[in-house]
């Protein structure tokens, strides 16, 4: 049986434990041996994206220590996974860092590309808008990017199509950024919020009850705006939909 290390990003651990539990359960159901290394903290992206990549060495070494023994590393956050994939390096063990960069997967792509899942026992009878996180889309290629002249595909959509009762709504702008952007969300507050408001409007005017994504950072930002404006639209991580049995 393949050994999978469960990578739960720091803010998901703290604020969205249900998404983490759903990820754990989905992986367990798919027949892999899942372990959660309890000493994990953070991938280092908050420092690196702010220009302080040199300060993320400690996080890098800790990540290597926690995860080098697994066949695969799977996390429910495209952004954190992409950061590891692109920027994990080590002064002391670059060989392990290189191996990890190649075996770290975001949950959706792990289910479609490695497990090659064909059916799901899930039901979610709601209208759902799919928000493509930019790191998932343009970094991990979870779906085709609207800018390119290339054949369409979508790994999250492929999985959502297996969920009973789920109706996916159409958006005016298929894959526009929500404006979270890490520390951008506070450093450029005005732009960040305006971008978020416009994404939320696209979903709500097209009838979404839920906005889902493979990135909770986008959803946390959109949720903050929805909540402030007393909207009925809710956010939910894709793992919770794929694991929903009611």
């Amino acid at each position: 049986m393949m050994n999978v290390g469960l990578f739960i990003p720091c803010y998901v651990n703290q604020f969205y434990p249900n998404a983490a539990k759903a990820t754990l359960e989905l992986l367990q159901k798919s027949g892999v041996n899942v372990t959660y290394p309890v000493n994990q903290t953070c991938c280092g992206q908050p420092m690196a994206n702010s220009g302080f990549e040199y300060l993320s060495k400690g996080c890098n070494d800790l990540f290597i220590e926690n995860f080098s023994s697994f066949d695969y590393i799977v996390g429910p956050s495209a952004s954190c996974v992409l950061h590891i994939k692109e920027h994990l390096h080590s002064d002391t063990d670059e060989e392990q860092a290189t191996k990890i960069r190649a075996k770290v997967y975001e949950l959706v792509e792990f289910l479609t590309d490695i497990i090659k899942i064909e059916k799901l026992d899930a039901s979610f009878p709601h209208k759902v808008g799919l928000h493509h996180s930019c790191h998932g889309l343009r970094g991990l290629y979870l779906s085709q990017m609207s800018e390119l002249n290339a054949p369409p595909f979508s790994k999250p959509q492929y999985l959502l199509n297996m969920v009973k009762g789920l109706e996916q709504i159409k958006l005016d702008r298929l894959d526009e950024c929500c404006g979270f952007g890490g520390t951008f969300c506070v450093a450029e507050e005005a732009v960040s919020v305006k971008m978020g408001k416009d994404r939320v409007t696209d979903h709500s005017k097209n009838g979404a009850e839920y906005i889902t994504s493979s990135d909770l950072s986008c959803l946390m930002h959109l949720e903050g705006i929805l909540h402030r404006n007393k909207s009925n639209v809710k956010v939910i991580h894709i793992a919770e939909i794929l694991n929903a049995t009611t």
Partner: protein
Amino acid sequence: MSQTKTKDHAALAGAFIKDEERVNWHDGALWYIREKRDLAVKQIPEWEQLREAASMIKSNVISNLHQYLLQFEDNLKKNGIIVHWADSAEEHNEIVYAILKVKEINQMVKSKSMLTEECHLNEYLEERGIEVINSDLGEYIQQIDNEPPSHIVLPCIHKRKEEIGELFHEHLGTEKGLSDPTLLTRVARKHLRNIFLTRRAALTGVNFAVAETGEYVVCTNEGNADMGAHLSEVQIASMGLEKLIPQKKHLGVFLRLLARSATGQPITIYSSHYKKPRKGQEMHLILVDAGRTRQLGRKDFRDSLKCIKCGSCMNTCPVYRKSGGLSYHNTISGPIGAILAPNLDMKRHADLPFASTLCGSCSNVCPVKINIHDQLYKWRQVIVKEGYAANTKTLGMKTMAWTLSSPANFRKAGKAGRWFLQNIPFVVNNPFNPWYRQRDMPEGPKESFAEWFVKNEIKKQ
């Protein structure tokens, strides 16, 4: 029109966003162009191959710039064009002034040239008694409003037609309240026609310069470059060193990419080739470095010199669409401006690489496949290392890194959840926090996943 920087991008964008209706309209106008671009490129089955070809041709150019420049100079001279080399913006301006002075010319018409905007040529010449009129309509509007262009292809895209009507009323004597674009354009056309007829000197930019033939190509929709050039006694072209392409046949790649990327048109209305002076005419070409060779020496950023100035990265950039080009306080705005500007003045433009969510849409529309968003990330590292980050930010980052680097520190910092509430900026629940101004914080659950896991899953094992 000098661009004095008093505020950073975030502050300037914040001011622009206050008028939400204007932002929605600005965003919509640029998104419409992005959609036109998508339709146009999807009609070309080989679009992605064309981008790749263009990128590789430009790689060849910037890797062999020295030889191509010498070849180009040689052919220009054979064609009877007088060649000048300018190391800096100042030197460029001095050369233009010297050319005009010899001929005792004190009025010049200019077609759109971002390079001369970058060099602040208009101000330089005006200080020396030479009047310059920008003949591109959008640029002309910006000039009479004493504002720099906000977009390299659509210079006044941030202005509404009513504001333009007001400017025309003030400067060209149109009826107050007139804002019909067709009528306004007719007035501008009549006014500019007189300018074209009376100016002895015309300056144009250069879109593509062909090393093999010593000719250059200027692309416009209004024909203003042609009108100026054809009626002039002295024709000047200013170009950045990177505008070269090796051979004429390569135009077949670049002309197909340029207008589709810029506006969704198959080709610009005019693609004019200039090769030799008319009888009695004098032609000058100025090759300008102004920081380009310095950028060429930066391994991570040299590919930015492939840019053909189509503006598609601006149209697709959600940050640009919501914040307006002027918030970038640099002649070239948007994502490409944010990777070019720090090379010119790192301290002044230290904020620009941070004016992005790194969404990556810019790199995907770029017709020469510049990895714009990767370069934004890399500029951030350089800017921090060079010491241009605020001290408070550095301290905060160091604390965060120290805590997150070790599970022991993380635990010592107290219950992890409490640490998060105190240290991660977007969850500090008070009105002084930028997260909280317009967004609620996530509702903290009773227990973290880790706590739940230790209680439930580890027991099971």
